[in-house]
């Protein structure tokens, strides 16, 4: 019998500009088109469409948890190998704390600013809200 949750598997995050992440992980939370989907070792083979949201990568050896804000794409799960294809990735990795805080505060101002916003601005606002959430998850800012 296959044990469901124990052990690691490989995860690769790809964009047209290069490989953002290639690691072993114990679990993932994928922002799929209709919500969030958890992936553990020995997940069934799957091809799914992604939505806008935060990709959470858990327990990366010598690194801990990692968070990536992605906007659409596809994920393929096969033989303990998860490949995530997406166009745009925002991450705080490799960014100094000051820059990250500045980015989150700018995102916050987009979220709270303006009663009336157009559709394109609404999309930017959604993304900014997710960025603020990712800032809270990574500890860049404290939760209000």
């Amino acid at each position: 019998m296959v044990r469901i949750s124990s052990g690691f598997f490989r995860c690769v995050l790809l964009t047209p500009t290069g490989k953002v992440l290639d690691c072993r992980t114990s679990g993932l939370v994928l922002p799929v088109h209709d919500g969030l989907m958890g992936v553990l070792r020995n997940h069934s083979p799957m091809l799914c469409k992604l939505g806008k949201g935060i990709l959470q990568v858990r327990d990366i050896p010598e690194k801990g948890d990692a968070f990536y804000l992605i906007d659409g794409g596809f994920a393929r799960i096969s033989e303990n190998f998860v490949t995530v294809l997406t166009y745009e990735v925002v991450t705080f990795e490799g960014m100094d704390r000051e820059t990250a805080e500045h980015l989150v505060s700018r995102a916050k101002s987009v979220v709270v600013g303006g009663d009336y916003i157009r559709q394109t601005e609404k999309m930017a606002s959604d993304k900014a809200a997710l960025l603020v959430k990712m800032g809270e998850m990574t500890g860049i800012i404290r939760k209000d």
């Binding site: 047209p16 083979p45 799957m46 799914c48 393929r76 096969s78 033989e79 166009y87 745009e88």
Partner: protein, 297 residues
């Protein structure tokens, strides 16, 4: 024989040409390295995209998506990628030759051709041939950014869905490797041809040991394919422009390196001529002096 002054003028001209060609080579080499890094880093993305496309189209469930099927329109949209500057070997002329073939074919089969031209050199060529392009793509320098590629892809998909165009192709110089670039036409819409190209291109690394087992699809196969097709079209468009820019700069590096080498050879040759001319002038002056002294005795 040319005078020393004339030789010096010619040498100075050759030196100036050498400086210009060397500068052009350096500028293109920097751009080439930048684009080559982008190209190399994007290859894995294209490989995985090709694998996904293969998985979806070879699944047991058949997909009849509008972007997969011919829409019956007799209008052929052609994106042609030229360069803004010359001196890049046969880059522009090969593209122009291929474009001529498309123009002749369209005339022969009674199809309407909509040309979307990129690059000043190509615009000049089209003007000389009396061909009016549908649009000159001048919103970006060489390679469109993410938003521009998305907008361009969405625009062409919309035109295809409305039946305004029946086929979308890109005429560009494809970069296979630093030793091999070829002008070719890539058909992007209907997307079946693009999938065929993606899954059979030599740069795709197929994990043959990997068995494409049964897999779940979320959402439905049609919706997955719709998103995948749009991603493929957008990626293919960006990739074509990147390949074209990469090939152009590589072509210019090679051409300008050769021109710089030739200028250096010419400078060396002219220096030799100058020294010979100078020496013969000195010798004749000395002979004149000796002759004058002898006559005075």
């Amino acid at each position: 024989m040319a005078s020393t002054r004339q030789i010096l003028q010619r040498r100075s001209a050759a030196e100036n040409i050498g400086k210009v060609t060397h500068t052009m080579e350096t500028v293109s080499a920097v751009r080439y390295r930048q684009y080559y890094r982008m190209w190399a880093e994007s290859q894995e993305f294209y490989n995985v995209l090709a694998q996904l496309a293969y998985l979806v189209v070879t699944a047991e469930e058949t997909i009849d998506h509008p972007l997969m099927l011919e829409n019956g329109s007799d209008c052929h949209a052609l994106i042609v990628t030229g360069s803004n500057r010359g001196l890049c070997g046969g880059h522009n002329i090969n593209i122009a030759r291929l474009l001529d073939v498309h123009v002749k074919m369209a005339k022969r089969f009674g199809k309407k051709l909509k040309i979307f031209a990129q690059g000043k050199k190509l615009a000049v060529y089209l003007a000389n041939r009396g061909i009016e392009p549908e649009q000159v793509l001048d919103a970006f320098e060489e390679v469109p950014d993410v938003a521009q590629a998305r907008e361009m892809a969405a625009d062409f998909i919309e035109q295809y869905a409305q039946g305004e165009i029946g086929r979308l192709s890109v005429v560009y110089t494809r970069f296979f490797s630093p030793a091999n670039q070829q002008a070719q036409t890539l058909t992007i819409l209907p997307v079946a041809d693009l999938i065929d190209d993606l899954t059979t291109r030599a740069t795709v690394i197929w994990p043959w040991e990997l068995v494409f087992e049964d897999f779940l699809l979320s959402p439905s196969a049609e919706e997955i394919f719709d998103g995948l097709a749009r991603m493929m079209i957008r990626t293919a468009l960006s990739s074509c422009f990147l390949d074209a820019a990469l090939s152009e700069h590589l072509g210019r590096v090679i051409a300008m390196r050769s021109a710089t080498d030739n200028a250096e050879d010419m400078i060396e040759e002219l220096t030799r001529h100058y020294n010979r001319a100078r020496q013969s002038r000195i010798t004749s002056e000395m002979l004149d002096i000796i002759g004058g002294v002898e006559a005075a005795r």
